[in-house]
């Protein structure tokens, strides 16, 4: 069930440069099915900015009816969002889309979670659930620079966590793709910039790979065809997946990116 709810802010803080962690109360938390689902947030009561912003659910607590998001303050909408205080309410539509299939990896197997920048957050709940299940979890996260890094300690609670930065100011200098070459694992769950997803998809076509993709959205629920991508292995070129309602998580071979 998709719900539109006025959600009260439980906590809201900046956890890295322009990176905010936002926790809200929502009755629809009970409806969340898998890590990697997202919500669609209305950032103002007016009509400018007009569209909702899609933000991933990074963790949730069904007992408390709370969930947490982590987002980067970028443009007009997230800037407005970042000004909201604890106690205020925000109009959220969710939960949306299909998340990471925790069932696809077995106890004792090794899952590699690869995140780039603001693609890291949805992997947090995933890591938690995989760990609870007895899966061995490894994390490789890429950021631009030291000041962008967040949640390293939190992820370390669940498994080995390697951080790379483009400028080398923290962790390993370079891209996540350089680092994963040296790791062993049974499957990959990844979320981040498209070039990163593309590289991983290409390199590991022999492994189970699950990608979470981003695209500019209109409705967020599958009605407007704004967020489609072509499906893999379709000679006609006409078949498609809607990222908002079929995804945002896909098996790598399902989609062309």
């Amino acid at each position: 069930m998709i719900t539109k709810e006025m959600c009260q802010i439980v906590s809201h803080k900046e956890i890295a440069a322009d990176i905010f962690e936002l926790t809200v109360k929502a009755n629809f938390v009970g409806q969340i099915k898998a890590p990697g689902q997202f919500v669609h947030i209305r950032v103002s009561n007016g009509w400018d900015p007009l569209l909702r912003r899609p933000i991933s659910i990074s963790s949730f607590d069904k007992k408390k009816n709370q969930f947490t998001m982590i987002y980067r303050k970028e443009g007009k909408g997230t800037q407005l969002l970042s000004q909201l205080d604890t106690g205020e309410v925000v109009d959220i539509l969710g939960p949306l889309g299909n998340g990471f299939p925790v069932g696809e990896v077995d106890k004792g197997q090794i899952a590699l979670l690869v995140g780039g920048g603001i693609g890291v957050p949805p992997l947090y709940e995933l890591s938690k659930q995989l760990t609870e299940k007895g899966v061995i979890v490894k994390h490789v996260f890429g950021f631009q620079s030291e000041s962008d890094v967040f949640y390293e300690k939190e992820f370390s609670n669940y498994g080995e966590t390697i951080v790379t930065t483009v400028d080398g100011s923290y962790g390993v200098k370079g891209l996540v793709t350089d680092v994963i070459k040296s790791l062993s694992f049974d499957c990959i769950f990844t979320c981040g910039p498209t070039p990163m997803l593309r590289a991983i998809k290409q390199e590991y076509s022999n492994k189970k790979v699950f990608l979470s993709i981003e695209e500019r959205m209109g409705c967020g629920i599958g009605a407007c065809f704004a967020c489609v991508c072509k499906t893999g292995n379709d000679p006609s070129g006409n078949s498609y997946k809607k990222i908002c309602s079929d995804g945002p998580v896909f098996r790598a071979e399902e989609v062309l990116i």
Partner: protein, 313 residues
């Protein structure tokens, strides 16, 4: 007292509020959120003969109080719409207005002939105004003689009344309206989107992969109101108005301008419950404004002393 029921050619509506074409798919998604029976009608996504993938992404960009889209008529194609979407929609007691599109005249004609046979399709909306496809759409929507010709051809084959959807990207909207009236249109739907563009400040390139897109939302409302005001005074066709509607007040403004029913597009993305909310709020607003029935509002802005509206249900 039912203040909202209206009757237009082919359409007996419990209320004059319907989602606009392309902003509501074929209804499945919004049916998860509320009972579609609440709606006056549904304008379904443009249908073409063949399945179309449409334009590359990104397909939407936000602008001030508006958005650009360049979906490019993505749709499952005539066969699938007839065999899957329309039968699914028939579980609801809601008339469907089928948006008919194509690249050439023959394609429009084929879609119109076939789709108008579906029992729950009560009217066609002839989409001669889509700004986001390279062929077809735009020429049909900007040259009066071409529009008239196409309307006539479609009327010949359609089993239900035909509403022609006008493009605002023209010098003279009245001329277009009169042309399609002469071509035999039963009604008008207006306006479609205005061609616009947004450029990414960082990359220097247009945000939309298609470069240009159609501007919709509150930003274009004054243009829609003006065009409906102009057109409603010089044709006898009922008008389904649209362009930036987001509230019950906006609906009244469109009626005042000359509309007899309205469609809500972009606002569904902002508030997915906008259609049922408006339907709920309208009776009270009419009461406050002193109208017994919404049809009394049609054309008020140009009628003398609030003379009764022309298209009274």
């Amino acid at each position: 007292m039912n203040r909202l029921n209206v009757e237009l050619p082919g359409l007996k509506l419990k209320n004059p509020i319907m989602p606009a074409s392309g902003c509501f798919g074929f209804g499945r998604e919004y049916s998860q959120l509320y009972d579609l029976n609440l709606l006056g009608a549904i304008m379904i996504k443009a249908t073409t003969v063949e399945t179309r993938f449409g334009n590359p992404t990104p397909r939407v960009a936000e602008t001030h109080a508006g958005m650009l889209n360049a979906i490019g008529l993505q749709n499952p194609g005539l066969d699938k719409v007839i065999s899957e979407e329309l039968p699914w929609l028939s579980q609801y007691n809601v008339p469907i207005i089928a948006n008919v599109a194509g690249s050439v005249e023959e394609e429009y004609v084929e879609v119109a002939r076939e789709i108008s046979k579906s029992p729950n399709v009560h009217a066609l909306e002839l989409n001669i105004s889509c700004p986001n496809v390279k062929t077809g759409g735009i020429a049909f929507g900007t040259i009066p003689e071409v529009a008239k010709q196409l309307t006539r051809k479609v009327k010949e084959v359609s089993e239900v009344p035909v509403y022609v959807k006008l493009s605002p990207n023209v010098t003279n909207i009245v001329e277009m309206a009169k042309a399609v009236e002469a071509g035999g249109a039963d009604g008008l739907s207006m306006i479609n989107t205005l061609v616009g563009m947004k450029i990414d400040i960082k990359t220097g390139k247009p945000i939309l992969a298609n470069r240009t897109g159609g501007l919709s939302g509150p930003a274009i409302k004054p243009i829609a109101i003006r065009m409906i005001y102009e057109v409603s005074q010089v044709t006898n066709l009922p008008i389904i108005g649209m362009g930036g509607i987001q509230s019950a007040e906006d609906v009244i403004e469109f009626f005042y301008a000359g509309a007899s029913a309205v469609a809500v597009g972009t606002a569904n993305f902002v508030d997915p419950f906008v259609c049922p909310s408006i339907i709920e709020q309208l009776p009270e607003l009419l009461e406050k404004l002193g109208f017994d029935h919404i049809s009394e509002c049609t054309g008020r802005s140009w009628k003398q002393n609030g003379q009764l509206a022309y298209h009274r249900s």
